[in-house]
């Protein structure tokens, strides 16, 4: 469902051209569990941003569900992001002035969903993430793990087909980090395509498909044939 063909992304830093991605060909199927690893500056985040339509490739074609999304305008891309893609960030990126419930509700508000349906879906999700008693708390009143669970709830409330996680455990201790990873893995069992960018080898090695990047190129792409 995600198809990159000869995708490049260049930045001009000062008067020097930086090649964040060089002619990347990549194909990720529906429901796959993929980790992207590599040293800093290897282009993993750039790749994730391109997949999430936060950025446009300098050249090449990106097809999502068979649709060439690189030719869409901002408005249409925003719609695709809203309906098909969920983001989980290292720094959670919760809106500090909104309660946990309202943070989760945000994509529904942006999507123009009616208020009754919104409340119902948010309540259900809070319940299944064990956050019901934290619904009216602001982010600053939540622990790191709770914040990331709120962020994951927000990312999944639109029932996206692709979930993109950029260092989701980078700001958590190892125990809560594991909990968060397990939560994300549960989602893949429901058919969501999960792509995690991580520094952490332990987390990365749990993925069924492990992509390694160096200098803007994919240098490793192995699949676990036998499940543990």
């Amino acid at each position: 469902m995600i198809e990159f063909s000869k995708v490049s992304r260049n930045f001009l830093v000062g008067d020097q051209m930086v090649h964040a991605l060089r002619d990347v060909d990549l194909s990720i199927g529906a429901g796959e569990y993929v980790s992207i690893m590599g040293p800093s500056g290897s282009g993993k985040s750039s790749l994730l941003n391109l997949i999430g339509l936060l950025d446009r490739p300098s050249s090449g074609v990106y097809k999502l569900d068979g649709l060439d999304v690189t030719t869409l305008d901002d408005e249409q891309q925003a719609r695709v992001r809203r309906e098909k893609i969920g983001f989980v960030f290292q720094f959670f990126h919760l809106v500090p002035r909104l309660t946990a419930a309202m943070n989760i509700e945000l994509p529904l508000i942006l999507g123009g969903v009616a208020i009754e349906e919104r409340k119902e879906r948010v309540a259900k999700l809070l319940e299944s993430y064990g956050l019901s008693d934290r619904a009216e708390h602001r982010p600053e009143q939540l622990s790191g793990g709770q914040r990331q669970r709120v962020a994951i709830a927000r990312a999944t409330i639109m029932r996206p087909s692709v979930l993109l996680a950029d260092e989701p455990t980078g700001n958590l201790d190892s125990t809560t980090g594991k909990e968060v990873i397990r939560l994300l893995e549960q989602l893949t069992e429901q058919g969501v395509t999960l792509i995690i960018v991580t520094h952490d080898r332990d987390n990365g090695n749990r993925a069924l498909r492990q992509i390694t990047m160096v200098d803007g190129m994919i240098v490793g792409d192995k699949r676990k044939s036998d499940q543990p």
Partner: protein, 402 residues
């Protein structure tokens, strides 16, 4: 995203930076209040002057001695003649006009009025019985000046309310003698309290027959002739005929000025309205300043909230939506500022009205609408740029910043 959700989201962000929002509302409201109060003052001054002129009487034509026109050379000047004064004969002659219902000559002077040991300086007005009807004055007690030929110098006097209080106190004034200068006058009536008109407070006035005033001040001059036309339609005819009569009276010289009350009212009305608009316009500058302030604060808000904007983009908010959110904030702010400003302005006008009860202070409806829409307009216009900037933020950079 629905409109009420947009407004709600905007109001949560205004709420989260409450002091900043309140300061902006304050700035906006000061601007609006300034416009409202200043135009209310200007409009009050205008109404005050117009009222003064209209309270003078109805369908009036006023004759002044001298002519304010500078065009041409008065032949009299060449042989050292000054323009002729207005005299009682001129006033009588005006009655020949078919458009004139009645007229009252006015002579004026100052004299010492005394009743036994009590005395004070008073303004003495010399006129005729017609003055009462022309000026719409009413009597509190006794009679006005007696009817009769204008040149009869009978020793009678009508006094204003304040004069009565000061010189006679509680004792009965009607029928008593009052000394004006070295002459003795019998008080025949007391004017009822009326307040000021044309800078002349009738309460502090002493009115004697015009011929008596001429004797008292040893002069023949009139300072005004008040002429009342028969009806509204006759005003213009009364003016032109009076002018013509006086032209002939004065041996073919146009050395008097004849104006209608309406023309004077219209002139002052125009001047003061222009003044009001000018003052209101100056106050509106403060609204523009408030607008720049809103822009500045919105720009700060955009840079403070880059992460949030990036997040909203990642969650699928299109640029137009981001623009609308910041727009909504500016509109809510300027709306709140306008409402508070209007209330402040009305309060201020009310207070000024209490301090100066004679000034009818009220902001005209056009000023209220103008202040409100200018405030809203500047808020919107000055938020366009910050909103655009927010919408154009690169989500990758916005989210990466920490």
């Amino acid at each position: 995203m629905k409109l009420n959700d947009t407004l709600q989201f905007a109001s949560t962000s205004l709420n989260s930076s409450r002091s900043r929002s309140l300061l902006m509302i304050l700035a906006m409201s000061i601007g609006v209040a300034a416009v409202v109060i200043l135009t209310a003052l200007g409009e009050g001054a205008r109404l005050y002057v117009v009222n003064q002129f209209t309270s003078l009487g109805t369908n009036l034509v006023i004759v002044f001695p001298g002519r304010s026109e500078t065009a041409g050379v008065n032949p009299g000047m060449l042989i050292g003649q000054i323009p002729r004064d207005l005299v009682l004969d001129d006033a009588m002659a005006i009655l020949r006009s078919s458009a004139v219902r009645r007229m009252a000559p006015l002579a004026i002077g100052a004299a010492l009025a005394s009743n036994g040991p009590l005395n004070r300086e008073v303004t003495v007005l010399g006129s005729t019985a017609e003055l009462l009807a022309i000026r719409h004055m009413t009597m509190a007690q006794g009679q006005f000046l007696p009817e009769g030929p204008a040149d009869a110098a009978s020793p009678v006097v009508v006094i204003g309310n304040t004069i009565k209080q000061e010189l006679f106190g509680v004792e009965n004034a009607v029928g008593s003698w009052l000394h004006l200068g070295d002459r003795r006058f019998r008080v025949v009536g007391i004017l009822s309290s009326q307040g000021t008109a044309m800078g002349m407070n009738t309460d502090e006035l002493v009115i004697v027959p015009v011929a008596s005033a001429h004797m008292l001040f040893n002069t023949q001059n009139l300072i005004r002739i008040l002429v009342e036309a028969k009806s509204r339609e006759d005003i213009e005819r009364a003016r032109s005929q009076s002018e013509e009569i006086l032209f002939r009276q004065h041996g073919g010289e146009r050395d008097v000025t004849v104006v209608t009350q309406d023309a004077m009212v219209a002139t002052f009305d125009r001047i003061l309205r222009t003044l009001t608009i000018a003052v209101g316009g100056i106050a509106a500058i403060s609204l523009a300043v408030a607008g720049v302030l809103i822009m500045n604060v919105m720009l700060i808000a955009v840079s403070q909230r880059t992460q949030e904007i990036g997040l909203l983009k990642a969650l699928g908010a299109p640029p137009a939506q981001i623009r609308r959110l910041f727009f909504a904030e500016a509109v809510l702010l300027s709306l709140a500022g306008s409402v508070v400003g209007l209330l402040l302005g009305q309060l201020g006008s009310f207070v000024i009205g209490q301090i100066y009860p004679s000034l009818p202070v009220a902001a005209p409806w056009w000023a209220i609408i103008a202040a409100f829409s200018t405030a809203l307009g500047t808020g919107i216009v000055f938020s366009v740029w910050p909103a655009r900037r927010a919408a154009q933020l690169d989500p990758v950079l916005a989210l990466a910043r920490r």
